[in-house]
């Protein structure tokens, strides 16, 4: 306990420097600003805003990125409530009752409850990260190459199950992502692999290039394909603060949502996406009058929103302690950390103690800032929602181009991004989801490295992955999950869950 307090004290003393507070504030502001634009999800937001952090030292950059992330998340909830367009998978649930509340003239209360329950969940999740971070790092040190490899297999297996759409197509995307990660110079032998002799590819496909192509450019193309019917809530937003009665009704859902979200967020393979769904289902099941759900039940906003935010934050745990990103957003964080010369993994906490704890502390500060800046600024966000897409996409386009160019200052990167934009558009047209591809891509290199190490250590004995108990358990779990996912009965239930 004393250790935990010491760590948090270190964190808060780092985060409370004027510069870091300012970075956190700017991150939250621009994150919300971009995240609130319909059709721009958190992944595109972070990819686009990455260059903003280049000139900042690593701790500040990471704090700012985390701010951007929360801002983008919150922006997604705002669009979900006001115009019924979820920014990403996790705010789908918020559209159900949030938008209904908005249509009944309670938009302000819905936004207020979303912000307050997110803040509460964020506070709890910060403590969870601080408490679990250190012990989990010790677990990580017990992991050999074989265990790491198996853990990543499990993570990818979970990602397949939790991806939207067809299971087999999600598997295909992971494999293509892994395949893409092998492009470039082989680290062990120095041999160039599948680079077509292009110098731009000799270091491999840049993560930012791939992410911006698949999520920046391809998303513009996707949006242009479906001219949206945007129904911005007309009339007044109404009061923001929930009444005492509302608060009383929300306490239970918020507590349960936070618990569910925080627990699921720790899972490798994007467990966080399950949180809001689980919370909504639970609240609907135990409600006195389940019929209210879907017609503007405040519990249906409070529970999922707290689960969403708790999961979004505990998703940092596998990244910071094991170095394994659990979802596409965290994969972007890996890219950002690497640009700043920090290799994610168990050593972060010891080598970069002030960075680690500073970021944990700034998570809480960021959540507080979101609450403070968003409630008064909601009027501004509503106005932003009315910007027509025909003006928005050229602006997004130019930001993406400048962002990509700035990563390495190479024009070839912009063209390569255009290629992946076209690739992403083809994937979309064929019914593939690009998020698992990005996750596979990020884990690919680490997986290959650990696989090769494990085989060298075991002298070429492939059985090493099932002979070592921890590794065997992880692989068995992965196998069970995949088998369940392809079973017809489970398939139907999964589809139903995503439709709800």
């Amino acid at each position: 306990m004393g250790e935990l307090a010491g760590h948090l004290a270190l964190g808060f003393s780092t985060a409370f420097s004027i510069e870091n507070l300012a970075l956190c504030l700017v991150g939250c502001l621009v994150g919300t600003l971009v995240g609130v634009l319909p059709g721009v999800g958190p992944i595109a937001t972070i990819a686009m805003l990455l260059p903003l952090t280049f000139q900042v030292e690593p701790t500040g950059a990471l704090i700012m990125l985390a701010g951007i992330y929360y801002g983008a998340q919150y922006g997604g909830s705002t669009t979900a409530i006001l115009i019924n367009i979820p920014g990403e998978a996790t705010s789908v649930v918020t559209t159900l009752d949030g938008h209904q509340m908005a249509r009944r003239g309670q938009a302000g209360v819905a936004l207020g409850v979303a912000a307050l329950s997110s803040f509460f969940a964020g506070t709890v999740a910060t403590v969870v990260i601080a408490a679990l971070g250190a012990p989990l790092t010790k677990v990580a040190l017990l992991f050999g190459p074989a265990e790491y490899f198996s853990l990543m297999v499990l993570g990818l297996g979970l990602a397949v199950v939790l991806a939207r759409g067809s299971v087999i197509k999600a598997i295909a995307m992971i494999l293509v992502g892994l395949l893409f990660s092998t492009v470039g110079t082989d680290l062990e032998t120095g041999q160039e692999r599948m680079t077509l002799g292009l110098p731009a590819l000799s270091d491999g496909v840049d993560f930012a290039v791939l992410a911006m192509g698949l999520f920046g450019f391809a998303e513009i193309l996707r949006n242009l394909d479906n001219p949206e019917a945007r129904a911005v809530v007309k009339g007044s937003i109404g009061r923001l603060l929930p009444s005492l009665d509302d608060v009383k009704r929300c306490i239970g859902p918020v507590l349960r949502g936070t618990g569910l979200g925080a627990a699921l967020g720790i899972l490798p393979g994007n467990g966080a996406v399950l949180g809001p769904f689980a919370s909504y289902t639970l609240e609907k099941k135990i409600a006195d009058d389940p019929k209210r759900f879907g017609h503007g039940a405040i519990e249906g906003v409070a529970g999922p929103e707290s689960a969403n935010n708790a999961g979004a934050q505990t998703a940092f745990i596998p990244l910071l302690t094991l170095g394994i990103p659990p979802n596409a957003v965290m994969a972007l964080m890996v890219g950002a950390l690497t640009i700043h010369g920090v290799i994610p993994g168990p050593q972060v906490m010891t080598k970069h103690a002030s960075l680690f704890w500073g970021m944990v502390a700034s998570m809480w500060i960021g959540n507080l800032m979101l609450l403070v800046i968003n409630l008064p600024l909601i009027g501004l966000w509503v106005r932003l929602l009315k910007v027509p897409y025909r003006l928005m996409f050229p602006a997004i386009l130019v930001f993406c181009c400048i962002g990509i160019y700035s990563v390495n200052n190479t024009p070839a990167d912009v063209m390569l991004t255009a290629f992946f934009g076209g690739f992403g558009y083809i994937l979309y047209r064929f019914g593939f989801e690009p998020a698992p591809l990005l996750l596979g891509f990020v884990l690919g290199r680490l997986m290959e490295e650990k696989l090769r190490q494990a085989l060298v250590i075991s002298r070429g004995n492939l059985m090493v992955f099932v002979e070592r108990p921890v590794s065997a358990v992880l692989l068995a779990l992965a196998a069970v999950i995949l088998v369940i996912a392809v079973l017809p009965a489970m398939r139907a239930r999964r589809e139903k869950a995503f439709q709800e």
């Binding site: 494999l175 386009l397 130019v398 255009a418 064929f430």
Partner: protein, 150 residues
């Protein structure tokens, strides 16, 4: 015959990816199990992608699914073309030309675009981008090398 044209095409697309990867990686040494070579991981993955592709194609014959619509070419052409134009223009001509260029070319992707609106908005955004990225953030991106030398 084919019950899900979209899936059939998707599977064929995966097969093409697998084929290209196998072809590009053909001369990479595979190594031994004890000491994996640089070619092993990519080759195994390419084969797996191909296997999944075949499975999706087979599935397309068995289960009905979505059809293939006509692909609109306008948006991809202008959006991706705009980005490539930016890549060519940014070094020699600088942001002051590349930024309005990418916005103007890109804007043609949507039939709703109004030319005068884009011209004004493009000008405003260019000033904003130069101010933000060059002066506020200090990124080493050329502004107008032919005019002011950087």
């Amino acid at each position: 015959m084919i019950k899900s044209p979209q899936d059939a095409a998707a599977g064929a697309f995966l097969l093409a990816i697998a084929g290209i990867a196998l072809w590009l990686g053909a001369d990479l040494p595979v190594g031994t199990v004890r000491q994996l070579g640089p070619g092993m991981f990519p080759r195994v993955l390419a084969i797996l992608v191909g296997v999944v592709g075949v499975m999706i194609v087979i599935d397309a014959f068995l289960q009905s699914g979505e059809g293939l619509e006509r692909w609109p070419l306008r948006a991809p052409l202008f959006i991706l073309g705009a980005a490539i134009a930016f890549g060519f223009a940014v070094r020699p001509l600088g942001l002051i030309v590349a930024a309005p260029l990418v916005m103007l070319v890109g804007a043609f992707a949507s039939p709703e675009t109004r030319i005068r609106e884009v011209l004004i908005f493009g000008g405003v955004m260019t000033v904003f981008c130069v101010g933000l990225f060059k002066y506020a953030l200090g990124l080493p991106i050329p502004v107008a090398p032919w005019l002011i030398g950087y």
